[in-house]
Subunit: 309 residues, 2 copies
């Protein structure tokens, strides 16, 4: 069975882990957002790739969702002595990842090749596919102007109101061949409950990628990261409003409507199915809150085994 | 009082600390070897600069002589998971130094400017002067061919026999203006008990630098790193033999004879003064083994206050 997952960081990685553990014999290919990559002191940091790979490798810090379990911050403490602002919390073991990646990139590897090397060294058997090897960077518009995504997300802790989202570099970005190949051979395509604007949005915006989904004969199932009018985690609701999408599960369905076969909404979200029906979106409810290994695997089974009309 | 010290890594930093503590009101300028700088995973590592600055800042690991007291090795452990050989023991806090320096260099600062910024952030009041901002790299000839200095020194732990030493880039290297200025205004110039071939040798080989010492009217005092036929630490004796210098305190004096006013030899080295006298080198004996703060300061006082004939 060929499974494809479109995935951002923390929320998406939970479903990725569920799929990885529930279907160990499937060919799992994960297309990952790279628009929140950031240069920190010359290091190429790929937060979504790392969160995903650390999660699948069993290294992730589960409580905070990002970084490595038990990591220390000696280098960051010392960097503060050198005047570094240090709002991006780079752990010591995490820095090793960025050093290795940046070194490999400088040796001429593509980002895809570094991701493949990284996951192999960490014994992850899923195929990890950055959405592009070209630089695409999200920026967020605020009342004080445009700021890079990580400034909004990490430095400001998404406490300022976003009024727009921009994807620099997206028009000239190309998806690697393996991304299109994974979609072409997919038996089922799953859109993780990741931020539809800054995680899934950039993936869909890579030229040709959305068309490939529209043309795919495989069922495409999305899990809403929105329950009621709130995101399970993160600033998805605010960012959806900023780009004019309804901040609701139905809004997620609308954003994906041209390629979506089934929208999975949370069982507690009584409005979601009604709204979806009005919009002509097939929706089904289940518990989408992945609080432990069991609930991750259960949701993975639900999205893979859901029969479609 | 304007003091200038020519300095390599571990041995030289001990005398630097003695001078720094014994003469807190002096203008101390330290000209530092950069020929054993090395690129590790894209990081610009300057072992002698860091050993010196960490020592003066009170951060150095005194037992091993290099690195930072209490440093951890989380990043290096993780780098091993990514296939990195990890023979160069980068500590986590030490990595912060290399990240900051490499970042500053990429922003367009010279190595001198990064060293000045580094020592200021770490509250070191001495002037730290890399011998050059141009890339000069020592290579060691062995029976298996030429290898970079750090391969010989760290990876192989100087267990192979050196048969030659080469300084790549030295002919086109230029000393920064501040180096010449410090020599021009010096009241006394001290050559640290550092390796005369791969620490002091590269400094003297920077075009114009040796001439500036020859022409200086300031007394120039060198402390021998060799006692009897052995180096106090490191491979100085083997490397002196490799380049045809007598591996003795007198050999050190001969190497510096054109600019030297006084050679300080260890009191236990009964041959040294006799040999020096035969060669027409003025030598004086004292305890040169700097095992604690007191002996560092005592030697510093000796070299600064020695009256010359």
């Amino acid at each position: 069975m060929n499974l494809v997952l479109l995935c951002g960081g923390i929320g998406g990685s939970k479903l990725a882990l569920g799929l990885y553990q529930q279907f160990p014999h499937a060919n799992l290919s994960i297309i990952v957002n790279t628009a929140d990559d950031v240069d920190i002191l010359g290091l190429h940091v790929s937060p979504d790739l790392d969160t995903l790979i650390y999660t699948l490798a069993g290294l992730a810090n589960r409580r905070q969702g990002w970084g490595i379990q038990g990591d220390t911050f000696q280098a960051l403490d010392m960097l503060k002595m050198y005047g570094h602002e240090a709002w991006f919390r780079l752990g010591d073991r995490d820095i090793a990842t960025h050093l290795a990646r940046t070194h490999w990139l400088r040796q001429g590897l593509t980002l895809s090749e570094t991701a493949d090397r990284q996951r192999r060294f960490l014994n992850v058997s899923a195929q990890i596919l950055p959405m592009t090897n070209d630089p695409v960077r999200s920026s967020i518009e605020t009342h004080d102007g445009w700021i890079p995504f990580q400034d909004y997300f990490v430095r400001l802790g998404y406490t300022v109101e976003p009024t727009g989202v921009r994807l620099d570099g997206i028009d000239s970005a190309r998806a690697p061949t393996e991304v299109f190949e994974s979609i072409a051979r997919a038996d089922r395509i799953i859109v993780a409950p990741s931020n539809p604007v800054v995680s899934i949005g950039p993936i869909l915006a890579v030229p040709g990628l959305r068309d490939a989904l529209v043309e795919s004969s495989a069922p495409i199932i999305a899990v809403s990261p929105i329950v009621g009018s709130q995101a399970v985690t993160g600033p998805a609701a605010q960012l959806m409003k900023a780009v004019g999408m309804p901040a609701s599960a139905c809004g997620v369905g609308i954003a994906y409507q041209d390629f979506l076969d089934l929208l999975v909404v949370d069982a507690s979200d009584s409005q979601a199915q009604t709204d979806a029906a009005l919009m002509g979106i097939e929706a089904r409810a289940t518990n989408t809150i992945m609080s432990d290994a069991r609930s991750k695997r259960r949701l993975a089974r639900f999205v893979v085994e859901a029969s479609l009309s």
